[in-house]
């Protein structure tokens, strides 16, 4: 079976390439979810802080 190294290399390239992309995609997705949660938390906290300052300004 002299073709075996070629066959294994071909399978490795395809499966390895797709699996690496899938893992990378899951990591990008997890990082994006963390960023979205952080941005939401930040925007909520800044809007809470802004209210008293705004209310205080006419005094």
């Amino acid at each position: 079976m002299s073709d075996l190294p070629f066959v294994l290399a071909g399978y490795l390239v395809v499966v390895g390439g797709v699996a690496a992309y899938a893992v990378m995609l899951r990591r990008r997705l997890a990082a994006a979810r963390i960023r979205r949660a952080a941005m939401r938390a930040f925007s909520e906290s800044t809007s809470d802080d802004a209210a008293p300052v705004h209310d205080a300004s006419p005094k």
Binding site: F6, V14, R35
Partner: protein, 222 residues
């Protein structure tokens, strides 16, 4: 009772399991081809990868036409996701084809019509992804990418029919051809199973990539 959420949570594992099954059957259970021997087993990953590349670029084309017509962000997200996944599958199809070429033709690459048009297709969709990266304005990016997605698809049928239109080292189509497929039924069943499972993997990857695109836009909107 199994809920839809369970399937969504485990869909990646199920697709990975299905891929593992067709890899094992293609490598170990299906008999070797009478003329090419074991190297023909590369067909069970090379052809499905090339098929998914075609499918992805067809969806890019349809989503781009849809975007230009309806201006829906969802269609833009779908086109972006399919272009990225299509570039991945076309790249691994070229790499596995190159390995098959070395085993059967004695060389890694030849400026043969099929190989050359496939390389052009890969470069065109890599340029599509670069175009998307280079434009900050969301609507302008979506509009220009949609125009590019329509124009780039012109090459896809040329890739498929290149082996029929010109003299080529690459073998002619095995299944998508006029008349009966030129392949043993057992090998054909394995090939169809591999194509079906790779198509499932494509759907899963595109779904995840579309989610990523939506979250990115939501973050940009905050």
């Amino acid at each position: 009772m199994i809920r839809g959420g369970w399937f969504r949570a485990h869909s990646g594992m199920m697709v990975a399991g299905a891929v593992a099954v067709v890899l094992v059957t293609g490598l170990m259970l299906v008999p070797a081809d009478a003329s090419q021997g074991d190297v023909q087993r590369l067909m069970y990953v090379h052809v499905p990868a090339a098929w998914v590349g075609y499918l992805a670029f067809l969806v890019v084309f349809l989503a781009s036409v849809g975007y230009l017509w309806r201006r829906t962000a969802r269609l833009d997200h779908l086109a972006a996701a399919c272009a990225e996944v299509g570039v991945l599958f076309t790249a691994v199809a070229i790499a596995s084809g190159s390995i098959w070429g070395k085993a059967t033709w004695g060389k890694w690459w030849d400026w043969d019509p099929r190989l050359t048009t496939t390389a052009i297709m890969l470069l065109a969709y890599a340029a599509y992804l670069l175009l998307r990266q280079s434009i900050a304005d969301r609507r302008r990016r979506a509009r220009l990418a949609a125009v590019f997605g329509v124009l780039a698809f012109v090459n896809v049928p040329v890739v498929h029919f290149s082996v029929l239109w010109w003299r080529s080292l690459h073998q002619p189509p095995t299944i998508l051809r006029p008349g009966d497929p030129t392949i043993d039924h057992l090998l054909l069943a394995q090939l169809i199973a591999s194509v079906a499972v790779f198509s499932l993997a494509f759907v899963w990857l595109v779904r995840e990539r579309v989610r990523l695109e939506r979250i990115r836009e939501a973050v940009a909107d905050v």
